[in-house]
Symmetry: C2
Subunit: 242 residues, 2 copies
């Protein structure tokens, strides 16, 4: 029996090149959207509603009387309550609550995958990498690893995560995808010290977050399995299927 395929899409602007309708799409926005989503769900959030814009976030937050969060340029966006850091969502704060979250790149890609008819959408990050890999193995259907990138420009951290997943799953999938091969090679180069690699390579987003004093966030977001949840997108909401 032939294996299902695995492709890595480097940027939302290339998503049209891949057949999402037959695939589980894994939304990857390592710094920090999908790391924070994994964390909030692991810590007991009932659901997370990802929205594109700050006004939508405010509106839905009012309608549902729930927590609103999102940043623009490294600061909590005006009119919202919380930011994008995973450390803002410990169990004692988030358990049992609904979070409306606006992020730029990850949300955009998620909505694109949805509107293009993705068979299923989940989110992935180092804090929940093992849960994601186990789930993909159990489903045994085609996979697209979708990097959220930064304003459509390919980034290092999302590619490293794709490479880490490929490194674990490659025997179980058909890989006819140069970007997947490059991602795994890059991951193998970087894997002993992902943080050091990001620093050495002066990754643009590493640089941006470091300027905001967020080294601790970066280290957490590059560490495996700190928040072993499985965020699945169902009816406009991300819920934990573990």
């Amino acid at each position: 029996m032939s294996k299902p395929t695995l492709f890595t899409c480097p940027s939302p602007a290339l998503l049209h090149l891949y057949d999402v309708s037959s695939s589980i799409v894994v939304i990857i926005d390592v710094l920090r959207a999908t790391s924070t989503i994994a964390t909030a769900l692991h810590n007991g959030a009932i659901e997370i509603i990802p929205v594109d814009s700050v006004p939508d976030c405010i509106r839905i937050g009012k309608e549902l009387d729930c927590i609103t969060a999102g940043e623009r340029d490294g600061k909590i966006a005006e009119g919202l309550q919380y930011g994008n850091s995973p450390f803002e969502y410990p169990t004692e704060f988030i358990a049992g609550k609904t979070l409306v979250l606006t992020t730029t790149n990850g949300t955009k890609l998620l909505h694109m995958a949805h509107s293009r008819g993705a068979k299923e959408i989940i989110t992935g990050s180092f804090p929940n990498i093992t849960s994601v890999c186990n789930y993909l193995l159990s489903k045994n259907i085609n996979v697209i690893l979708g990097c959220a990138a930064w304003k459509d420009k390919v980034n290092i951290e999302d590619t490293l995560f794709a490479g880490a997943v490929i490194n674990r799953l490659k025997e179980n999938f058909t890989l006819e995808c140069d970007y997947s091969q490059m991602a795994e090679s890059l991951y193998l180069t970087a894997k002993d010290d992902l943080y050091g690699f990001m620093k050495e390579r002066n990754a643009t987003h590493y640089h941006r977050l470091t300027n905001y004093g967020l080294e601790k966030d970066i280290r957490y977001c590059l560490t495996n399995d700190g928040a072993p949840s499985l965020p699945v997108y169902v009816d406009g909401k991300l819920v934990n299927k573990i």
Copy 2:
């Protein structure tokens, strides 16, 4: 004085993210368009006219009474005379002649860069890497390394070439570009045996050309400085500025 910038664009579908109007754009289509262009010009071709389509190639070939070349799916396209292999253009054949060449990915990117107002356009490949690097150093203006990719999907070989150029030039440019960093890292992993890396990584285009029996072409196209020309795009034609 601040250094000029260098960016790497992974795919024609992402070219709009980069400011070509202030930059030299290096068109990279390693297998095999830009390797063949470098070779034909080095071997004395007067000029190469890159065109998008087979019908255009035939028409211009008749108008100018010159050589027409191009492949589709690994075979010489119907109505054209020659293929895309650099070995078809030795000095005794091509010196003093004009070549009208149609390729899918490289030509598309070149015309996109031109229509977006690129300051200057040259083509790059391993057979003319040193000429390209020397030229970029001498100009001291912003550079965009443009990978032709394969039907807009990112490929390994064009990225490796970008990485090789970056490895030589990085001290002379400002690199705020994750894809450039990834390309250089990939190149450093692969550089001792580019052919072996392509094979090991089962690069899709390596696979395609190997199926056509073109290992010799691949090896040549991954070897430095076999054809030290400098193809510059002027008035719709590529001419050798060395």
